[in-house]
């Protein structure tokens, strides 16, 4: 008897995703379709919650390919939350488009892929999860078939995504050849027993291939060039999903590959990944300053944030991982929320350049306020969520620098702090446009309630985590602990 409990949340999502196109024959009302999709997400979250309540049982599936632990639960909740608010916001956003059932269905399938990545214990299960998400999101990016920008973005995303899967698959095949296994624990065991290796060059090659493959997914510099183009061209609610969901999936993959699989040889890659992190955050922030399109600006800010989260890998302590997880959690809400605001305003014909946001505070006080909170949180202003996550994340390298041989990690923290200061410049510029400058049009905006609700969810999360960070930090520390201990 195969035990399916561990993948019940995924099964529910798949069933709902399969039923949606059928429902599309009965009704063309996007609100009903979105409601049905949302019901699937909520039901899936309920089952995840039931598993989270009792983690003493080991939830495993497929000979341990999939294992649900505290770390996996955390990410399943993040991904389900992202899927939830994206579907909620899309109900109105796609109301005039064709093929709506498929749209919601694909969002849910992409989420299934992310959840599989979160709970995978095997390099190949993880790879298949990533591909499931990627395939669904290529289609979602090109969803508006008549949109020239969307078609171009989809082409770019598809080619870069294919290249990235080519690299990661080749890297995975080499890892399999060297270690005779694809499970993370197995790779770790092999490497810790057989150092020094007979042929370390081959392992280096494998590692670099996998890093390039995953690096495309998390938009690590120099593999980031697709991100602004795709984020700009995609339907904006999908941009929110890419930034808040599928990018985080890449980080889960990186965490599992480096911090479980390759932890035995961490001295070899620590410095390299550390330098990558610094380059990524600096480049993202510097280019973000010059952007005039708000989606591109947020995309580059997303690249910079990827650099911050990447810091957790070279530091490689439980505390650092907790910081990385915290940043992922808060980033999912603040960046997602910011993109949702852009999507909401697009429905009332406010453009995507930053200048279009002039005088927004008078036209829609709630949207301007929410945008201000998200941007300040991204910059790391207390007492918002972004401050606490950055606080934990940036203090981790300083903590670790106390041990011998890791003194250089202070520079990581220093670079991150300087970068936060730079980023404040372009975030505050948007706030100035919204609050200080006068816009040409002064009419009050009438916004669709479901999109406002989606933004409000993100807003509550950002402010809530900001005011009561302790339970979250505590939970994330446990998740990080379970991540290191269980393997």
């Amino acid at each position: 008897m195969v035990e399916f409990t561990a993948i019940v949340p995924e099964i529910i999502l798949v069933l709902f995703a399969m039923a949606l196109p059928a429902l599309g024959y009965a009704t063309k009302n996007s609100k009903i379709l979105a409601g049905f999709g949302l019901a699937g997400v909520v039901l899936s979250a309920v089952f995840t919650f039931m598993m989270a309540n009792d983690l003493s049982v080991a939830y495993e599936f497929g000979n341990g390919l999939i294992r649900v632990d505290q770390f996996a639960i955390l990410f399943m909740f993040i991904f389900l939350a992202v899927a939830g608010y994206v579907i909620l916001a899309s109900a109105v956003y796609v109301k005039d488009d064709k093929h709506q059932p498929e749209f919601f269905s694909l969002i849910m399938l992409a989420t299934v892929g992310m959840m599989i990545v979160a709970s995978s214990t095997d390099l190949f299960a993880l790879f298949l999860g990533i591909e499931l998400t990627s395939l669904a999101s290529y289609v979602l990016v090109g969803f508006r078939k008549k949109d020239v920008k969307g078609a171009e973005a989809a082409t770019k995303y598809f080619i870069i995504g294919g290249l990235s899967s080519g690299f990661s698959l080749f890297g995975i095949s080499l890892v399999y050849g060297i270690t005779h296994t694809t499970s993370f624990a197995g790779i770790n065991t092999y490497l810790s027993w057989s150092v020094p290796l007979a042929n370390p060059e081959l392992l280096w090659l494998a590692m670099i291939m996998v890093v390039v493959g995953f690096g495309f997914k998390i938009s690590m510099v120099p593999f980031h060039m697709w991100a602004p183009d795709v984020y700009e061209g995609a339907p904006t609610t999908i941009t929110a999903m890419l930034a808040a969901g599928s990018k985080k999936m890449g980080f889960v993959a990186m965490f599992k590959f480096f911090l479980i699989g390759l932890i035995a040889i961490k001295a070899d890659w620590q410095l390299l990944v550390g330098i990558m992190a610094i380059v990524t955050m600096t480049w993202g922030n510097i280019v973000a300053i010059q952007q005039t399109n708000i989606k591109r600006m947020l995309a580059y800010s997303s690249i910079a944030q990827a650099g911050y989260i990447l810091m957790a890998i070279p530091v490689a302590t439980e505390y650092a991982l907790a910081g990385g997880l915290f940043q992922i959690l808060t980033h999912a809400f603040m960046k997602g929320g910011a993109f949702l605001i852009v999507a909401t305003l697009a429905t009332v014909a406010i453009g995507e350049t930053i200048k279009d946001y002039k005088g927004l505070a008078k036209r829609s006080p709630f949207m301007a306020f929410a945008m201000m909170i998200f941007l300040l949180s991204l910059a790391g202003i207390p007492p918002l969520a972004g401050f606490w996550s950055k606080f934990v994340l940036f203090s981790a390298p300083i903590d670790a620098a106390a041990t011998a041989g890791a003194e250089w990690m202070t520079w990581l923290a220093l670079a991150a702090i300087i970068n936060s200061a730079i980023s404040l410049f372009y975030y505050v510029r948007v706030i100035k446009y919204m609050y200080v400058d006068e816009g040409e049009c002064k009419d009050k905006l009438k916004l669709p309630w479901s999109m406002v609700a989606a933004v409000a969810i993100c807003l509550v999360a950002v402010i809530g985590i900001g005011l009561w960070p302790d339970p979250f930090i505590e939970y994330l520390k446990q998740a990080a602990h379970s991540f290191f201990v269980l393997y």
Binding site: A151, G166, F170, H180
Partner: protein, 104 residues
């Protein structure tokens, strides 16, 4: 060496060549369809690796993984061609150098 009589290195050299040809295709060719074919070459290079390692390690996992990745490559082509077809309808080109609306 096993019953096939061909040393493992030969397979690895073959797959490395295929991978590099594929990568060069992606980087140099400007026709999106050719790029798509080059990506397939990269994936197939990995499949050769997986099967070769599987045989020489006496471990069937690799062959199963190769089957999965073949299925995946097929799905990827289906989606890729659909995207390129749509691009061709809208823009009347599949030349990657013409994709210049989105840039900084």
């Amino acid at each position: 060496m096993d019953a096939t009589g061909i040393p493992l290195n030969w397979f690895l050299i073959l797959s490395a060549c295929l991978f590099v040809i594929g990568l060069a295709g992606v980087l140099i060719k400007r026709n999106a369809i050719v790029v798509l074919m080059s990506i397939e070459l990269m994936l197939n290079a990995a499949n050769i690796n997986l099967v070769a390692f599987s045989v020489y390690n006496n471990d069937p996992t690799g062959q199963v993984l190769a089957l999965f990745s073949i299925g995946l490559a097929a799905a990827e082509v289906a989606i890729g061609l659909a995207i390129l077809l749509n691009l061709n309808r809208l823009r009347d080109t599949v030349d990657l150098n013409d994709l210049t609306i989105l840039r900084w």
